[in-house]
Amino acid sequence: MLQKSDKLLLIALSVGLVFHGTIFFFTFDETYDSFVHIFFADHYARSWFEPWDNRWYTGFNVTSYPPLVHQLTALLSFVFGLRIGFVLLAICTVQLLIVGAYRFSKLWTTPRAAGYAAIFTCFVSSIIETLHLFGQVPTLMGISCLLNALPEIYRWIRYGKHYRLATALSIMAVGVTSHHVTTIFGMVFFVAPVIGLAVLDSRIEKNKVENQNNWGLSLSMREVLKHGSLPLKITILDFLKETWLKRKQIMLFGLAIPIVMMFVFPYFYWSKTDPITQVSIPHGSRDSFIEVPSSGLMFFLIPLGIDLLLLPYIFSRVLTKRNIFIGLSFTLLLLFGTGGTTPIPKLMLGEDAFNILTLDRFTFWASIIAIPFIGEFFYRLIEGDFRDYLRLQIGIWPYHLIWSFITLGCITLVIFIINLSTFRPLQPSTIDTKPIIQFLERDQHDKWRFLTLGFGDQMAWLSAQTVSQSVDGNYHSARRLPEMTTRPLERLENSKFKGIQGLGSLQQFLTIPEKYYLKFVFSNDKFYDPILYFSGWERIQRLENGIMVWQKQDIPPLPSVLPEKNLPKFVKIYWGIMPLLALLLAFSINLLFVWYARFQKKSKYEDGYEKDFLTLPTIKTRLFILMGIWIFTLSTIIITVFVRLLLSSPNDSPTKVLTAYYDAVDFKYFTTAHGYFNPKTRSSFEDYFIKLSVEDGILASYAKLDNLYIVETKIDDETYELKATAEWITPVEQYITENIHKAVRYNGKWYIEQPKFDPTTPPDTFIDEAFLSIFGHGKRKAGVEPTAHEDFIDRPELKILSARMIKLDSTYVVVGELQNIDNQPAHITIQANLFDEYKRRLVSYNAKYVTIHRIMPKETIPFRIEFEETAWVKKDDLDPAKFNPKEFTKFDFKIPPKIFKLMVKAVVNKNDVYRSVGVQSVKEDGTKIVGDVLNYGTEEVSIPKLLIAFYDKNNKVKWVDTHFLRYSIRQQRMRGFVIERSIPKNYKDVYIGTDDDFYVNGLPNSSFHVPAQTKMLENHILLKNLESVSIRVDAFIGNPTIY
């Protein structure tokens, strides 16, 4: 026969099953971590006993994460598939959690209240956030095991039946294998208070029996009493004495803990043998929640949720004598959860631990501790003494109002959290991975590594479905490449949001992809297109799902044997067996044993636990007053903030309207932007929109607004002149635009004048142009055989015309010029190696975007190669104050280079050979060169890049620079440019290369013969200092018509 309270548990379990079970199917693919866990599960499904996975970060060990949840998902996946398997497991975990919360609650409150707590567990906002927003099933599994183990620990300490030690440890072992961090911290924040409670309870019981008088510091136990209200006195000394009596239980338990921890021995083995010093990734939970309200919302307000409203009640219950230990633990957790808002957590945890831990888990644990007391509160409010008290004191309707207000708050919050990803998408919309998988499987494409851009956490799902390897990954603890471990960058994937450190990393990967065998990039974000194009990548295909595939030519395939950090065989087998063994053990000890015990003498397993029940404290009026004030204040603050946000209008002041306008333009809310224009003079929205739609360019299409500074100048009361300095992040460099806007007042509201568009009309309505279109068959015979000998095309021949090494302060640069002497357009890779005076190689690097990677027959192209070091290795480099994508980490030359060797190789190029763009009206104007870029062809140039080469008097390249134009150039139109004439001031020639230093396609440069240019080239513009300059345009066409 079920007890009354157990019926509530049954209700809770069904609610949990229906509620979470239904919803998780729809939320899990929007969460942050689900796919990572699915990826791990896929790893186990593919190779259970091999912890090495090559697919991420050029290979990593899965022993870096406790495996139970992954292995169970893998097992389920054999029947249901990965996704459904994961969802089913999550649902089971929630069930376990509800049971755990119920059993945990019974330690602190009455069984009926614990039943309420179990129902409340289904709606705890932190649990909902962890599951439906973060997808952290292992964390939930860990905490539910811990919660289930706690009553067992209590019973072991208090009654000393060995059977309880076995159950406690077996459940904890399952917890360790699913999430060891929970167990480790749980020892401090959960287990220690429960042990304290057990000792205290034993003492209270004794007192009840003996009722002795004690001396010393009094710990009055009036608040919570067992069996009526006998006035008991327990001193600290009593407590210590009782602890001494329980030493056997405590010692045994304490000694067993390291053994339990050994269930994930390979994890510790891995972290000991493969230490990787990694730069920690900034986490919102470490922010100051006042300065960054969004972090505060995400990591403090939402997880606490209704707890925050009932905080006085929780404190009134936990800060009592019996609950003092859990009270301390709760207070501490709450304090740590505030992150960087106060300096206290940093001081208490220490600098290092503070920077490694994600502090939101403390908030999570605090909210778990609160569950019994919130459950109790609801019990008392709905059917207990609060109900009677309130009905008596303030009447029936106000009472109804109060409980409906609190319940409504709880429900609203739950709905809000579950739908948060719909209000504010956390992930890019779901990508159909099938075409990508098919692409990777086709024609040996998995012989190279790939990279995804703008996939969010769905890249893990992609990886889970293929054997292809990515240089990227979604699990930061396993980052291995120094390019990534040295940066606070989890994924290259989202480098856009990580400013220079992210884009710097990405630029390195894209500039020297040979190093990583990186050939394919799947781009779901147009933002990265310019950097891909200008570092020599080409578009090959747009897949059916809209993903653009970029490839880099001339990358060697992955070697058939890859480096691997092998673990001892014993460790591998241990890792594969132990987690499931732990689960099996826990299962048999807890369920089979109990079943078996039914036939045995019951007394062997019985203790006084079931008979021992708690009473609730009496009602105090001051608690109600305190709670009333607290709830009222909190609700007032929240409502005020909300209403202020709703009522404030950007038209209140000139600066506000301009800021709002820039924001609207940045997020491409053009209707809103148009609304900020002076209604008296603005054109119709259709007119504005159609003029806007033909504008393109790096600022319009590939930039993110970073900072905006506005300076107001008053003209008269009705007119202000506003100077807006905007900083934009683009993948190639940072732009600062300065614009003058005029703000006017109209009907008491401020508006800005609409910016003017270029009224130029091109002379021709129709233009045509002959276009070079090239097709290479590749393999002429389709099949799985490698490319036949006769299908190889000769590498186009190049000739290096000149190159020299330059010293700029402490860094070195190689500049030069080369020519395509072949008859096919070539895609070139230019690599320079620097050597010291003893011919030891110091560094090598490729030309990034200070060149044109696609070169036509007989064309000459200047280039500049800079030498970058893996950035942010040094600690003082960690936090660049300002974002600057153009910035790079100079290679630190310890020995000065003396000579260099230039290795150039080429393959036939088929795409991106638009050349109908040039410069005109070029003049020297003081220290500047001004002119216009004119597009006289048939494609719109989205981003024109100027390549400016300065030549010395002997016609050899002296310096090369680039300049990205901010706006696109449409057909038969032009845009002005202004560039500096001068070369860097600290310029110093180090070594002028000779033919012996140049290699083309692996052959000496001297083996290629072409007529030399003897006369001064006419396409060089002679400068006043008798040197000359040539300006070329590299045209990135964002939306080519031929693709």
Binding site: K742, A770, E790, E859, T860, V919, Q920, V922, A1012, N1019
Partner: protein, 420 residues
């Protein structure tokens, strides 16, 4: 100094020790082996042909009741140990497929009983003939560049055929000529250098050795370095309106053997403009001709156009005269609206000049440049929006410069003009 110290001689001690060990193995060990080697119990002589064709079957039969002995086979591909099965050694087919010398030794009780040697001969060349061509493309420069066709004829077991096996090469050159050669293999390979000729195109190559033919091979002959060329213009509207485009095209660019250069050859077009500024434009050839559109200049005068390809390849210089498009314009100033109206700008044929032409206004006292765009014949400046008294200003358009002096009224701030 170092030599005086005799202690260094101790350094020779390890060498001495090593010497002893080597001597032991050389003399002493060897004797042990030799001492057991004269322990043969029966005699046997091989009765085999001197040579066999690859792929033949071979087995060696021993007399009845022979004790258990083993056969050692040694060829250039490796060594095999064979065990006796019913008085007979079956030599594996894989061994017999490989041409070359095969050493056969019979062992009994670690001693060689009998030895012989046979030669396995390769068969006739077998299809398909393995051929390689490289480079795949050469410049048609009359014999400077060459490519090579190589054939390695093999039999059906992929053994190289006999030395001096003739291989027949035949070529069909781009100019229609046919060539044929018989070249014997030497060191397994038969090869022929193909020297370039003067015409661009494909050379189709076929090979044959004995009855075995190979795949069709092709060699591409490509045009050489371009020679100086001509440029000419077309469809010119001879007014400096900074708007209309005219066409420029090169003559057919060819190499010294009159082959048209390949598509995509880049041509740089260099222009010295009528106002002394420069243009750097590019185009590439299609069918030997590069075409592009050039915008008319903004000031009357002579435009000098030339084109070049790097490597001293230059064109003629083209001089194009442009006449001025407008002769004069008016300026008016409305005190009420404080708008400066410049225009109408009337073109050479009495039309409005095109929208978007830039009018430059220099505020003389401050040397501040302002720009206004011509829209429907007029350029307008709203001087009210300039916060300062203006004074004398210079207006420039298409090489015409005008000066005007406007004194703005000092604004009465208290008047609170409501107009935006």
């Amino acid at each position: 100094m170092y030599l005086k110290n005799k202690k260094y001689l101790w350094g020779l001690f390890p060498i001495f020790l090593v010497g002893i060990v080597i001597a032991y193995f050389l003399f002493f060990q060897r004797k042990v082996i030799i001492s057991t080697s004269s322990d043969s119990q029966f005699f046997f002589q091989f009765n085999l042909p001197n040579s066999l064709y690859a792929g033949s079957k071979l087995s060696i039969k021993l007399p009845q009741h022979t004790p258990n002995c083993q056969l050692l086979l040694n060829s250039s591909w490796g060594t095999w140990w064979l065990d006796l099965s019913k008085n007979e050694f079956y030599i594996p087919d894989s061994v017999m497929m490989q041409s070359g010398l095969l050493d056969i030794s019979l062992f009994y009780n670690k001693n060689i009983i009998a030895e012989t040697q046979i030669f396995i001969k390769p068969l006739q060349a077998f299809e398909p003939l393995e051929t390689f061509l490289g480079s795949k493309s050469i410049i048609a420069d009359g014999g400077e560049h060459w490519s090579m066709i190589t054939a390695i004829p093999t039999d059906k077991f992929i053994n190289p055929v006999y030395e001096n096996t003739p291989v027949h090469f035949s070529f069909k050159r781009p100019n229609g000529n046919s060539e044929a050669y018989d070249i014997p293999t030497k060191h397994l390979v038969s090869f022929k250098k193909i020297y370039s000729q003067q015409k661009v195109g494909k050379t189709i190559i076929s090979m044959k050795a004995a009855n075995a033919a190979g795949k069709e091979k092709e060699l591409l002959e490509i045009p050489g370095y371009p020679r100086p060329f001509n440029i000419e213009n077309d469809e010119l509207y001879p007014y400096a309106d900074a708007r209309q485009y005219f066409k420029l095209k090169t003559g057919i660019i060819k190499d010294k053997f009159e082959n048209v250069v390949s598509n995509g050859t880049l041509v740089s077009i260099n222009i010295k403009d009528t106002d002394g500024s420069y243009r750097q434009l590019t185009s590439y050839t299609i069918g030997g001709i590069a075409r592009l559109m050039i915008q008319n200049p903004n000031i009357a005068g002579t435009m000098q156009i030339s084109a070049n390809i790097y490597g001293d390849v230059e064109s003629n210089q083209l001089n194009i005269q442009f006449q001025e498009t407008i002769k004069d314009f008016k300026i008016s100033y409305n005190k009420q609206t404080e708008v400066l109206k410049i225009g109408p700008f009337i073109g050479a044929m009495g039309q409005y000049i095109a929208d978007g032409a830039e009018v430059e206004v220099v505020l003389n006292p401050r040397q501040e440049n302002l720009k206004a765009l011509v829209i429907e014949g007029y350029a307008k400046f709203n001087l009210k929006q300039e916060q300062h008294p203006i004074g004398e200003m210079t207006i420039r358009f298409a090489g015409i410069e005008k000066r005007i002096n406007i004194q703005l009224e000092v604004k009465d701030k208290n008047k609170n003009d409501k107009r935006p």
